[in-house]
Symmetry: C2
Subunit: 418 residues, 2 copies
């Protein structure tokens, strides 16, 4: 069988499984998740053996330490996968919720009811724990999922696939509800992206080159996340201590993630007092500053920023700094250089807080809080499958509800259209 035929067969089976999943009782879906959690704990030894093959291959291929770390299924990672499944099992089931209902003048009762998306194609890189996280979220939301992981993790993913199939069988779910494509070929990814009649949505997770490849090749709608160039704006009259704390949290707590800040914008009225304070705190934590000319005057240790620094996602302990003369200039800068991901204002002013909230076009806009909160768990969605920075379907973090859509339902007593 060719790779294309294999992928097609997997997608046909997923589509069939999806129909039954859509109306499955929550209890039964939760049983599958809990069975898988139990199996992960019991079979940790088997998983680590399979993972060792991947790690050996990766070492031979000369993968970086960071890549090796992502690939490793340690006891801690395995325990955290199991706990993740238990957490998702405990969340409310989004499927079946009637989000609103109204009565038409002719007596027809019309509502919207949450339903699964159907079949999700999930394409990711080297982390094998994503296999389990994605399977759990998709199953809980009533979706069938076809999982295509990276070639480095193929042995780990095949071992996990066996446990997933066994857990599905144990809970009485169709085993095709969550399938791992059993080949690391990129041809399989391409084949999956062409199955527009069988797959409802593609969710890629990984570096920008993977996302761009998937978006360019897919005939199926893609929920994608490119990059986060997040801004913290310190307004005229802002609380300096709060602003320093938010800058440190935004830049230093985890610099390599998408919701870390990349640029600090400071109102000119605060720059003289605030910037030396903030610079000392940030540089004390190893942050390299790249400032506009006015920043350079106030913070001589800062490097001079170049044009390429303003739209840059550093993902590192580097922060661009710019002094602005007004809220409007800050918002113009964000509109020009930002990535619509996350922006925050530090302010004491009611009117400017409102203008910032309304005027900034990002998936999360905050007043007096850290950009690091742009995360499904932190915002209260319970769990997260990714962040969507295109505006369609679900702008921002996607939890269980965002893996569903709504259909219209209508209850009548014989109404016809006039």
């Amino acid at each position: 069988m060719s790779v294309e035929q294999l992928v097609h067969q997997i997608c046909v089976q997923a589509r069939e499984a999806a129909r039954g999943l859509a109306t499955l009782p929550s209890d039964q879906k939760n049983q599958a998740l809990l069975a898988l959690a139990g199996a992960l704990e019991q079979e940790a030894g088997t998983l680590k053996q399979a993972n060792a093959k991947d790690l050996a291959g990766a070492a031979q291929a000369g993968l970086s330490a960071a890549m090796m770390d992502r690939l490793t299924l340690s006891d801690k990672v395995i325990a955290s996968m199991a706990q993740g499944l238990k957490d998702v099992a405990a969340l409310p089931d989004p499927v079946g919720e009637v989000t609103s209902m109204w009565r038409r003048p002719n007596g027809l009762l019309v509502g919207r009811q949450r339903i699964p998306l159907g079949v999700i194609g999930f394409i990711y890189e080297s982390r094998p724990n994503v296999t389990v996280d994605a399977a759990g979220l998709c199953l809980k939301s009533g979706n069938a999922v076809v999982l295509k992981g990276g070639k480095e993790a193929i042995h780990s993913n095949l071992a996990l696939a066996q446990l997933i199939t066994a857990a599905l069988n144990q809970a009485g779910l169709p085993p095709a509800a969550a399938q791992v494509i059993p080949t690391p070929d990129r041809a399989a990814t391409l084949a999956l992206l062409k199955e527009e009649e069988l797959v409802d949505v593609i969710i890629p997770r990984g570096g920008e080159s993977l996302i761009r490849f998937v978006a360019a090749e897919s005939r199926i709608p893609v929920l994608k996340h490119y990059k986060g160039v997040c801004h913290l704006y310190v307004d005229q009259g802002a609380d300096h201590e709060m602003a320093v704390n938010l800058a440190i949290n935004g830049k230093c707590q985890r610099p390599g993630v998408c919701n870390a800040i990349e640029t600090l914008l400071v109102h000119a009225a605060e720059a003289r007092a605030f910037l030396p304070l903030a610079a000392a705190a940030l540089m004390g934590r190893g942050v390299e500053l790249r400032g506009c000319p006015r920043t350079g005057t106030l913070v001589p240790q800062a490097k001079a920023a170049v044009e390429e620094d303003w739209p840059a996602e550093f993902l590192d302990l580097i922060l661009a700094v710019k002094v602005v003369d007004s809220l409007e200039e800050a918002m113009d800068h964000i509109a020009r250089y930002g990535s619509r991901h996350t922006e925050a204002i530090v302010t004491r002013d009611y009117g400017r807080a409102r203008r910032f909230i309304d005027g900034v076009d990002s998936s999360l806009v905050l007043v007096n809080a850290s950009t690091r909160f742009n995360d499904g768990g932190e915002l209260g969605l319970g769990a997260e499958i990714g962040i969507n920075t295109s505006k369609l379907h679900a702008f921002g973090p996607m939890g269980l509800a965002e893996l569903t859509t709504t259909k219209f339902i209508a209850y009548g007593d014989g109404q016809v259209r006039a």
Copy 2:
């Protein structure tokens, strides 16, 4: 300037206009719509002159009577465009609505706020009234729109574009908020579909070949509607008179539209009494029946259905008829041959009504009501820009709210992530 450069420039201006539109007061948007409504009424003569050029060209090209009818800007069509704008102006503004808000354990107040999608690319065929309808809906929902109509309607669309620009100026809106691409070239459509950095969503409206062309060529997400193969299922114990009325309304009231029924499914227990009754009523209205063998026994005048009839969208006074032995068989038939558009059950049974509502995967599922209600206006959305039969973003009819998305907003007092 090349077509590509022209389209790019239009999209750049639309993107700039979109930023201001997003926070415009409702009153000002409504003023633009009402100014345009007034201009249409005042300039009906000018519009009809421009339209006459299109009609002359169409006559020369030998277009069908139906195409000529769609192309014609009569006084009635012009009055209806103006009334449509007044109706949309009177609808509530979806932008700015906070759809929900909750407090996190750390005190952060998190909500979701409706925002426009941004820039909409609207691609359609020969009806010039679509130019005005689409502009009105996009502007009211705070979106900038780039309109690309068919080549047959170019003179009409350019005349309408002048009125639109004048109305935008009169209400103080940026004139780039609604632009008509001033060339009928297909190259312009192709250029628009590649502007992924500037255009947020493409909405095509027209025949299946246009939609498939747009979906295949677009790098931008497309909200699309292929076809409606809608089913009416008459359950065991159903009220025969109600079922006949729903079949007649579904098939005969407007056979050429997507929410008309194409297949009638009848439970075997009702077939002997119901089918002759229904057949007489339908054939009396000129409907051709194409039945399964059991239908043929009960209704000798019916033609024998062939396999191609079950997935067919006849868009005509033709109805496929099949006798089934159970609700499950009806739902299996719908899952196999349907288009996820609209399905209805006629029943007196509580449990089977519930199973049908939950188990059928269509954008509207009805109990005891006509499939013809699948329309934004009829369901209570106020107006409609199209019907989405892909599940992402908005499954089914799309009104003003469906031309928006939500962003997260958060109000804190210094919260940082631990």
